[in-house]
């Protein structure tokens, strides 16, 4: 037998990494970066995939459009798309009211209109890369934008609209990055140990993936509030096929969340431990269905 594996975790060396999922079921990606170069690369790949899928492309730039146009033009397919109007670079102020607190429903309607226009023009949908850092600089902006992220996530479940939201960690900090990243189904941000995302356009079903323990407790509570799920027939459903771990704290938060909305909560989890924990806690109104 080999000797022990001795690891000192104090410097975070063997940290748990969060990886982008291999699949993009509907394409709502949060990309948090310290270095813009990998984000630019990922954005180009995201847009190129949209081009191949026959979608209209928008790049919403945090600053002037010209440097972004120059950067995207390095990719021949994107250069051609820009030339013929299939791809467009706009400044963030043209798409969002950048210095104000975002109005989620209004912003979703704006993208819905743009998506329908793209369809009317013969595209298969609308794909957007948004440099959203300027939109979340204050606590009020962050709160509103995070709520909007889930609202637009619901819209993406219904219509052919997809987006990559880019945030600069150096400007917004890790906590804000986590608050935003956890409301996307996919992210590169290790700060978000879980993802809470829309499962349909109604808002009574959410998806939950990743790991929920004490370190995620506050973030989970905040994310649930911002998702603002709406019961249908007194019931909320949380689908969690990608859930790797959930502790009693998160189950208590789910139970409390449903109770305050006069709703029962059904958690569909692949882990029997979630069901056993719920049984120990004796939480009427919270049902864990083990999905196997």
């Amino acid at each position: 037998m080999s000797g022990p594996v001795v690891l000192d975790c104090r410097d975070g060396a063997p940290g748990v990494t969060s990886e982008m999922g291999a699949s993009t079921p509907y394409g709502h990606v949060c990309w948090v970066h310290d270095d813009p170069a990998p984000f630019h690369h990922a954005a180009q790949a995201f847009l190129t995939a949209g081009l191949a899928a026959g979608e209209r492309l928008w790049y919403v730039a945090a600053g002037p459009a010209e440097p972004v146009v120059a950067r995207l033009s390095a990719v021949p397919a994107l250069r051609d798309a820009l030339a013929r109007g299939t791809a467009e670079v706009v400044s963030v102020g043209d798409t969002y009211r950048s210095d104000a607190v975002v109005d989620g429903p209004t912003q979703v309607r704006a993208y819905a209109d743009a998506t329908e226009a793209a369809l009317a023009d013969g595209f298969r949908g609308l794909r957007v890369v948004a440099e959203a850092t300027p939109l979340v600089r204050t606590p009020a902006q962050l709160d509103a934008f995070a709520r909007y992220e889930h609202l637009v996530d619901r819209y993406m479940r219904a219509r052919p609209f997809s987006a990559m939201c880019g945030y600069d960690r150096r400007e917004i900090g890790s906590r804000a990055a986590a608050e935003l990243a956890c409301l996307h189904p996919e992210t590169n941000a290790p700060e978000a140990s879980f993802q809470l995302y829309a499962c349909d356009s109604q808002g009574d079903r959410a998806g939950l993936a990743g790991e929920l323990d004490l370190t995620a407790e506050d973030l989970f509570t905040t994310a649930l509030e911002r998702a603002d799920l709406r019961p249908v027939d007194g019931r909320l459903v949380v689908q969690a096929p990608g859930l790797r771990f959930i502790d009693h704290r998160a189950l208590l938060r789910l139970h409390d969340y449903g109770r305050r909305r006069n709703a029962s909560v059904v958690l569909r989890s692949p882990h029997a431990t979630a069901s056993r924990l719920a049984g120990l806690l004796d939480l009427p109104g919270l049902t864990v269905e083990v999905t196997g």
Binding site: P4, D213, T215, D247, H248
Partner: protein, 318 residues
Amino acid sequence: MRTGAAAGHQGYYHEAVRYGSDEELLAVVVPFLLDGVGAGEPTFVALGERTGGLVRAALPTGSGVEFLTGGSVYARPTAAIRSYRELLHAQVTAGAGQIRIVGELPTATFGATWDWWARYESAINHAYDDFPLWSMCAYDTRITPPHVLDEVARTHPRFATPDGAHVPSLAYTEPTVYLCEDRGAPPDPLQTAPPLVELTDPTAAQARAAVYTVDRGALPADDVEDLVVAVSETVTNALRHGRPPVRLRLWAGPDRIVATVTDEGAGPKDPFVGLLPAGDGATGGLGLWITYQSCNHVSLHRGGPAGFTLRLTAGNPH
């Protein structure tokens, strides 16, 4: 209204029966049970197969005494407390003025896991004190080790004897004192070898991942998942309430996985930690209460030079 020796007593009337023959056991237990049903009190037996059979045979047909399945009741101490409290609550809600129970720990509990059953015997003086319960815990002196009988005397306020007497136990120690003593269990033989994994100050996520790395498929998947929960909670608790560094060590054998979580603090102050849920979980007590129900053995090791250690065993701890 309460009857018999417990008449006038408030809360839990907890006795041990040390018997040296089957006749001595029946001399104490049969009148206790028949007096209970005679008084209209819910009366239960939670004995093992052999002794349960003896008592059943000694009772008249249709006596009204209910027999619980002793083996499953006494699988894990915290689960036993939880299920007994549910039973007692239901009886009181239904109007019972007193509930009588004769119970017996399986002999397997006298071995490697005795420490947490000794804690159980002490903790229930508090845990059942909300209820008008009169119970007798039976110990066969022919097969019970002397050190176990010593702990029985310290955890039971009184003894019931075959001559019908109820004698105070002079060694009885209040649970708030008893449960704060170091009651470490003997080392698991696996611990004589270096651990397969040793992590210093792991996050709970890293600790969970480490458990999976030592799983060789020897245990049912659910047992491993339950250990993952237990290790996660124990590491979380140590990081939050203990003194660094926190060390997780893992061993795996053919029939079990053993984990130890050590920090340099003194350990939880709550004497009932793990055995009873602590409020809303803010002090970590709910996590350790879950831990106690997710493993086949949990032992606390206080006061040594290494600080405080909680050892968790999934699989066969015996």
